[in-house]
Symmetry: C2
Subunit: 229 residues, 2 copies
Amino acid sequence: LIHTVGVTKDYQLGTHTVHALRGVDLRVRPGEFLSIVGPSGSGKTTLLNMIGCLDIPTEGMVELFGEFDTRDLDDKASTLLRRDRIGFIFQSFNLMPVLNIRENIGLPLDLQRMDSKEMNVRIDELVEVVGLTEFAEHRPEELSGGQRQRVAVARALVTQPDLVLADEPTANLDHESGMAILRLMQKMNETRGTTFIFSTHDPKVMDLATRTVVIEDGMVTEDTVKSKS
Amino acid sequence: LIHTVGVTKDYQLGTHTVHALRGVDLRVRPGEFLSIVGPSGSGKTTLLNMIGCLDIPTEGMVELFGEFDTRDLDDKASTLLRRDRIGFIFQSFNLMPVLNIRENIGLPLDLQRMDSKEMNVRIDELVEVVGLTEFAEHRPEELSGGQRQRVAVARALVTQPDLVLADEPTANLDHESGMAILRLMQKMNETRGTTFIFSTHDPKVMDLATRTVVIEDGMVTEDTVKSKS
Ligand SMILES: Nc1ncnc2c1ncn2[C@@H]1O[C@H](COP(=O)(O)OP(=O)(O)OP(=O)(O)O)[C@@H](O)[C@H]1O
Ligand SMILES: Nc1ncnc2c1ncn2[C@@H]1O[C@H](COP(=O)(O)OP(=O)(O)OP(=O)(O)O)[C@@H](O)[C@H]1O
Ligand SMILES: [Mg+2]
Ligand SMILES: [Mg+2]
């Protein structure tokens, strides 16, 4: 599904270059439930951005769905790919301040021109699963940190994408809320075969992952698949 | 040090009222290392905002440092109190985008008109302790989520306040970085007697706290002091 070869990312800041990724080779198969872990600043978000074609590598290449080299995608093509096949949960949520919860969650479906009846069914379902029914008409600034995070999660899942990239999706959640989110994702993974790639510091996400990739200082230092016991 | 009596907070949203706090009675003594835990949306951030005089209760009262009723403080008085005696680590960091790390951390000292020589000593020290020396000249948008969190932590500690209110200060940090932050806070607590009140979902913060207050649905349901063993 996903193939990265020698992916390098440099950020130029004045005279100082930050080597955020230093040659990452990664192969992700469809249906994997993979967690990427590593110290703060080690390159997890940067790697997810590469895979989610929000950015392109300085060197190396990212191939998606066995056919797209992200360097060859123009803005229009990458926008369509992200809209239809990828769900992204951002580390800082990136919700639209002027839209309420339902509108925020439904935005990707709106962009797909989905029929409003089906849209509402999907939105209702997700709002309920993430425990925000009571707050469905509220706007992001009227919500707690963890409530905003749950909106970001719901929005990434509403299009039922082939690939979900979840950047620290439980960081602001208590144990119960976090587990509810993870169970929802596990269910999508088991019933729909949705591929999940998490960046996380949360032990419960690592526990549920079938494979863990450790990244330190821009390089993969470990890659462990759990054996089914 | 801190005394809340019957603190209630209602948010009015159209016809819908959210009862964020429903009568919180809390007494915090100087030098405590207290964690407030509870489900997402239970009222932790709202309570910290009451204590940090960023907001006032709908009913009830908050008394700070044994002498200030926050309802009696005008804007000028509460700004001075926050500037000189309280450090606040926000759940969403609230860094200044146009300032770099050093300038962000030094901003509270700037507001206190501190001599620039002493300012630089304090900033250097904190930048190093939170592990951001390499990134000291970068701006927030050039940082990872956990790096921004560490800037927010450093900024709250730089004035060496009497009271630190830390809203999920380790949410975006890996285990090591989180422990480094907590050890720094423990050290300030032990050597300077700084009072710390955390809102957290992180088990390692709860472990280090000498007292844990559980808040659910806007009310305190448990209040446990650890016995020294
Ligand atoms: N400005 C606001 N307007 C309306 N409702 C609000 C506002 N701020 C918070 N709330 C509501 O008040 C309740 C408590 O919010 P608060 O931010 O204190 O929760 P929290 O315990 O910090 O949650 P989390 O762990 O998710 O950060 C929530 O249900 C939230 O939706
Ligand atoms: N836009 C940018 N400009 C310059 N440097 C950047 C930029 N974005 C990230 N970096 C740097 O690249 C490195 C990797 O950042 P990244 O956000 O991928 O880390 P991370 O593993 O997600 O960290 P965290 O766990 O703290 O979220 C960091 O050292 C960061 O400072
Ligand atoms: Mg990150
Ligand atoms: Mg909160």
